[in-house]
């Protein structure tokens, strides 16, 4: 890695003692000696193991659940169903007033995705829990499922989630988050060229080395210590408190040393049910996702679809950009309503465009619920935007890097969401990339600066 100190030197103090110094990491000695304690390195005598019975169907009504054989299985201590969960219907963003509550801790009457948790089995050993889970009988009536966002938005599509009443998240702005800036239709009308393209992505798993999980130990005083690899301690504690209808003072969360997260450990899935198990049995409980659960059950990055329509001039200026973004939340909200609107705040990318129209939708389907991942709300949008930029440049026979210089935002430029640009550095990154990659651009672009307002 090279630090290029010649850029922005006037804005920076480089004479600090500790900041800017490549100090060794204080946690690394623990890592290389195997001494670092992750949540699963806590082991308690008498610890129970929790295994989840999951839906084999994408969408089904539950006619009945029979746990009697499982309960009789040797080593089984407790079997939990929806009725055992004090506040079974929840949504995690309720803490920042983004509702409605739309997800069940354990399925109640219906499953909405393949893999949804239905029954929790607690047993003396993992093996006993697995064997007992195989003995739980759930009678399902399979319902039509919808996996495609456009299909889900059509009239007559199967309703995925009754708590929403329609297959999209209803923002205060309506069916989508909107950004309106300038007059996009006038921009198209005056453009030399128009290009509309559609980009799509697939769900992506965080695949951290350490799977999601927690170990819960009763403290013996009505309090429960939860050793967890959550990415958000109080967010998880407070949601657990709501789900369990238990004062937060009864909960003690210990974590902060996590074997990789990438956004995959913000969903508050394992902790509430494990604490409930510990409360109802009085025993320590371990609930750790298997690798298969981590890969296919834990929330992935959402599948997205992005439609970009651009009006642009022969000289390289983009004069109008319309973006319609669809985020596939899967069956439940989790963080997706936030991610979709974060996208609205991100488009049209780091470019100054006078006429912009953005609609971003959060859509419900019977796919695995998605959630946050590194680059949440932005990563796939950037893929779409930057491939689109390449196409536009080639369409008018312009160098793709020079084309970006022409449109790059600079300090003071007004963004579509009506914030003036501050601290821009796109131009300088491109200048340095031109040099590093031996990708020549015209001198006028090398002398541009983010400090000075664009034309």
């Amino acid at each position: 890695m090279e630090l290029r100190k010649n850029y922005f030197a006037d804005q920076r103090k480089d004479d600090l003692h500790e900041i800017g110094q490549p100090r060794p990491r204080s946690d690394s000695p623990g890592h290389v000696t195997g001494k670092t304690a992750y949540f699963a390195d806590r082991n308690f005598p008498g610890m129970l193991h929790l295994k989840m019975v999951r839906s084999p169907h994408h969408h089904a009504r539950i006619r009945s659940i029979d746990t009697s054989e499982a309960e009789k299985h040797p080593g089984v201590v407790k079997v939990l169903t929806a009725k055992d969960v004090p506040h079974n219907v929840y949504t995690i963003l309720i803490l920042i007033q983004i509702g409605p509550e739309d997800e069940t801790v354990l399925a109640d009457g219906k499953v909405r995705w393949k893999g949804e948790a239905v029954v929790a089995v607690l047993a003396e050993t993992e093996r006993a829990a697995q064997e007992a889970a195989a003995k739980v009988k759930v009678d399902y009536e399979v319902l039509p499922a919808v996996f495609d966002m456009e299909e889900a938005l059509k009239p007559g599509a199967p309703l995925v989630n009754e708590y929403h009443g329609q297959n999209y998240y209803l923002y205060d702005s309506g069916e989508c988050r909107k950004v309106r800036f300038g007059d996009v239709e006038a921009g198209f009308a005056g453009a030399d060229h128009i290009l509309e393209q559609t980009y799509q992505s697939s769900p992506i798993e965080h695949a951290p080395a350490e799977t999601t999980g927690c170990v819960v130990a009763p403290e013996g005083n009505d309090r429960f210590t939860c050793y967890t690899n959550t990415q958000a301690m109080f967010f998880t504690l407070d949601n657990a408190s709501i789900i369990l209808q238990m004062p937060g003072s009864k909960l003690h969360f210990v974590g902060g040393t996590v074997g990789g997260g990438f956004g995959g450990k913000v969903d508050v899935i394992v902790e509430p049910i494990a604490i409930l198990g510990a409360k109802l049995t009085g025993r320590p409980v371990s609930f750790i996702y298997s690798r298969e659960e981590e890969m296919q059950i834990s929330s992935p990055r959402a599948a997205e679809k992005v439609v970009i329509k651009d009006g642009f001039m022969k000289d390289g200026r983009i004069v109008a950009r319309k973006v319609t973004g669809y985020t596939d939340a899967g069956a439940y909200s989790r963080h997706s309503p936030y991610g979709a609107q974060k996208g609205a705040g991100h488009y049209p990318g780091p470019y100054t465009i006078p006429n912009v129209w953005i609609d971003t939708y959060c859509v419900y389907t019977n796919r695995t619920p998605s959630s946050a991942m590194r680059g949440f709300g932005v990563t796939i949008g950037d893929f779409a935007l930057e491939v689109q930029m390449d196409k536009l440049a080639r369409l008018i026979g312009m160098d793709p890097l020079e084309f970006r210089f022409i449109n790059a935002y600079r300090d003071g430029d007004m963004k579509a969401h009506r914030q003036p640009t501050e601290g821009a550095a796109l131009i300088e990154c491109m200048q340095e990339a031109s040099r590093a990659a031996n990708w020549p651009v015209a001198e006028k672009y090398l002398s541009m600066s983010s400090y000075t307002k664009g034309a």
Partner: protein
């Protein structure tokens, strides 16, 4: 058979923080009797190095070496509230809270030192090595060790501070979408060079030249860790990763590390990382969040490079050999 080479570029920015939800983090700082400093948080270290960075931020602010700072984090019985580690917010939000708490503690420390040295606190400075000096008269000094002892056993002062950093929630305006979705932006421009085997659709990423502007590299080696790993993940997203390889058929999702694909140690691109620093106005020592955006520009850069190499556009991620091969066959007019 032909191995065809191409290159592609992408430029991006990335927002720091979760402004649209309201974004608070708190920190507490206190000294031990012998002048070591404890930072108490509930923030989570996912491996990105939050603990180390908070120690360096606290040390810089107090004026002591980093190894005199201990970070105690993520115990809800002791640590004050943090929203969590996501949205590239950790360094920015928790860092600001630590600075505020450390400044308050530093002020008490200087006041105690001033009493010991019989000068005004405003006339004192730290040397970064554990000593407090009178400005302009450095021979008149006291160690932070002695100041802490004095505070604890003689003067009854708590060398401590509270930090609270809150970005108030931005509510998007319904019709126009006017909002403040972020605090500051990091930037990147990446050039990817690839080879595509036009008989199999296999892509080899030869080089990945990344330029990142991240505000301030608080610890350059740790920044490098994030950026190198992120560049790898970007390539992985571009070419390999999906939980539903044959969507709309949802079968055949990988359930292990053999079948959920990511580049192995034999697939590494020659990776170059260049860092620019334009300090953010509101970041801790000018820092922005680099952890997420560093994995974004490689994806379109690879997509554009694949087009440059073989002339087909794959607009659906991931850009698998199968998708490229199908596109090449369609381009050649062959039935498929």
């Amino acid at each position: 058979m032909a191995i065809r080479r191409g290159r592609g570029v992408a430029a991006i920015n990335y927002p720091t923080g979760m402004n649209l939800g309201g974004d608070p983090t708190q920190a507490l700082v206190h000294s031990t009797p012998t002048g070591n400093f404890m930072v108490t948080l509930s923030s989570v270290d996912l491996g990105q190095g939050m603990k180390q960075i908070m120690a360096q931020i606290c040390a810089e602010t107090i004026g002591v070496p980093t190894d005199r700072v201990v970070v105690d984090t993520a115990d809800t019985d002791t640590g004050p509230h943090c929203m969590g580690t996501f949205a590239s917010r950790g360094t920015h939000r928790a860092g600001n809270a630590v600075i505020q708490a450390a400044r308050e503690a530093r002020q008490v420390m200087l006041e105690v030192a001033a009493e010991e040295l019989e000068v005004n606190a405003s006339d004192l400075e730290t040397d970064g090595q554990g000593n407090i000096l009178v400005k302009g008269a450095p021979q008149k000094s006291i160690s932070i060790f002695d100041v802490a002892l004095s505070a604890h056993f003689k003067r009854g002062r708590s060398i401590s501070g509270r930090g609270m950093f809150l970005i108030p929630r931005s509510y998007p305006e319904k019709e126009t979408g006017a909002m403040k979705p972020s605090t500051c932006y990091a930037h990147a421009c990446t050039v990817a060079e690839v080879e595509v085997d036009d008989e199999t659709g296999e892509v080899t990423v030869l080089t990945m030249k990344n330029v990142f502007e991240i505000g301030r590299a608080l610890n350059p080696k740790m920044v490098e860790q994030q950026l190198v790993g992120g560049s790898w993940m970007g390539i992985s997203h571009a070419l390999y990763e999906t939980t539903e390889p044959y969507y709309p058929n949802r079968d055949h999702g990988g359930t292990d590390f053999n079948q959920y694909l990511m580049p192995g140690p034999g697939d590494l691109a020659q990776t170059e990382i260049i860092v620019l620093e334009r300090p953010s106005a509101d970041g801790p020592y000018g820092a922005k969040g680099p952890g997420e955006m560093c994995a974004n520009p490689q994806i379109p850069a690879v997509a554009n490079a694949v087009f440059d190499a073989v002339g087909v556009r794959i607009d659906t991620l991931p850009i698998t050999p199968e998708r490229i091969l199908r596109a090449l066959k369609a381009q050649a007019g062959a039935p498929n």
